[in-house]
Symmetry: C2
Subunit: 267 residues, 2 copies
């Protein structure tokens, strides 16, 4: 099965949202966890155990594991295994983007069968959509997905993303259109997109886009799932809203975490 | 001392170039090294021992360590320590770029005092130059440097980089100008730039830029150090040409590596 098929099925069987695993200092304090790899691991495993059967996917934020060096990456590897056991998908938020053999190495790291191999990753297109090709190919061949940053949730994102390419297209729209064209060519929904849930007007047309949209910015950042109907209006894509702080700060009590997930779902 | 001061001094004392540490399959084969973490470590240590007293900096490419998971990151940590002992600077090529607490975590990971703390890193501005602020501040406070991708060496890079921002500036030129403005405001050359050495015409004006320019694309990709005088013409910046394959493929013989460095220097 492709990543897109697994995601679509999982969205039907669960609450259909993604929960970020962001072990930053503030959430570790709220959970009374130590600021070290042990605290990070206990926190992450607590989130996974409490919500693994409820959510479509978890999105570990790589930065919060990388900051502890190789022992932090070892914790990330164990989290990936633990998520797998729950049946939820793993979208690793790494925002990698490079060229040639380096992009190929990132694809092998995260879309291959190694210890950090996951269901999907995020990638960043500053070096050109075409430079991401090794990741798309690896994903196609291994049943994985790639979320390209198109229009991010933060205000500073507008500067480049709403600008225009050398060829004259709007940058974010160019990512949408090139992503759809790649999927059409491959005959599979491999290329997906990151679009922020914080914008009343995204400034891009997603009507023709058929793969999946990962939508951060839900909850504390201000976006709501019910608000997505208008901002993402008319798209054929599978929407995957992603919430982090709003849910994580409701822990460590497992029921508190589950209640927080229920609260962000449209009533 | 700031990163910029350390780099400037080191460039005077050595050949003034940066050598990439890119343990991809091709170079491991040439060195008759196994395709595993042991081969990666022996290769990297061989490069560091042979060239540590000759070059200004080494640029390990994070992807080739990440692809081996946490044991690969442990090798990267040992390489960073080994480079430090030679006196050469470490520019870790990670091309990270995120927002808020996540960008802060990347800054702590790579510009702090942890096991992956280095002299400088590369970052990617698709989420906006302003989103990189936590890295600039960490670098300022810890005497480190940050290389923002401006105009990369690959052909696909032109699409976004030579386009225009929402505000109407050329994207790459906007990075140059915002970088210089940040340094002027901070009173220190913290923000540096990545500009490819492969372009006859860069399409950006670097005349007023006073920090450092990391210039990949020298050697196999087609750029030459003598060619930089015209393509980077008139800049006040400290130029740091970076060469990888052209030197690495001359190993594992240490003298072969040193001769390869001499060959890429202008006669």
């Amino acid at each position: 099965m492709t990543y897109f098929e697994r995601l679509s099925r999982r969205c039907e069987e669960t609450a259909g949202i993604c929960v970020g695993i962001d072990p930053h200092g503030g959430v570790l304090d709220t959970w009374s966890m130590s600021h070290d790899v042990h605290g990070v691991e206990r926190f992450a495993m607590g989130v996974i155990e409490a919500l693994g059967d409820q959510v479509a996917a978890f999105k570990p934020q790589s930065a919060f594991f990388e900051m502890w060096g190789s022992p932090g990456i070892a914790v990330l590897e164990r989290c990936i295994s633990a998520i797998r056991e729950t049946g939820a998908l793993v979208i690793l938020d790494v925002k990698r983007g490079d060229i040639g053999s380096t992009m190929q190495a990132y694809a092998q790291a995260y879309l291959g069968d190694g210890p950090l191999g996951v269901d999907a990753i995020t990638v960043s297109p500053y070096l050109g959509f075409g430079a991401l090709q090794p990741a798309f190919e690896m994903a196609l061949n291994h049943g994985r997905g790639v979320y390209v940053l198109a229009r991010t949730s933060n205000p500073e994102g507008a500067d480049i993303q709403l600008g225009s390419t050398h060829g004259g297209a709007q940058v974010a729209q160019g990512i949408v259109d090139q992503g759809q064209a790649w999927n059409d060519m491959a005959g599979a929904n491999v290329v997906s997109l990151v679009v922020g849930g914080t914008h009343a007007d995204l400034g891009i047309d997603l009507t023709e886009f058929t793969s999946s949209l990962l939508i951060p910015g839900i909850g504390t950042q201000g976006g709501t799932i019910s608000g997505l109907e208008s901002s993402m209006g008319g798209t054929q894509a599978v929407l995957l809203p992603s919430v982090s702080r709003e849910v994580l700060m409701a822990g460590p009590d497992p029921q508190g975490l589950r209640d927080a997930v229920s609260r962000v779902l449209p009533s």
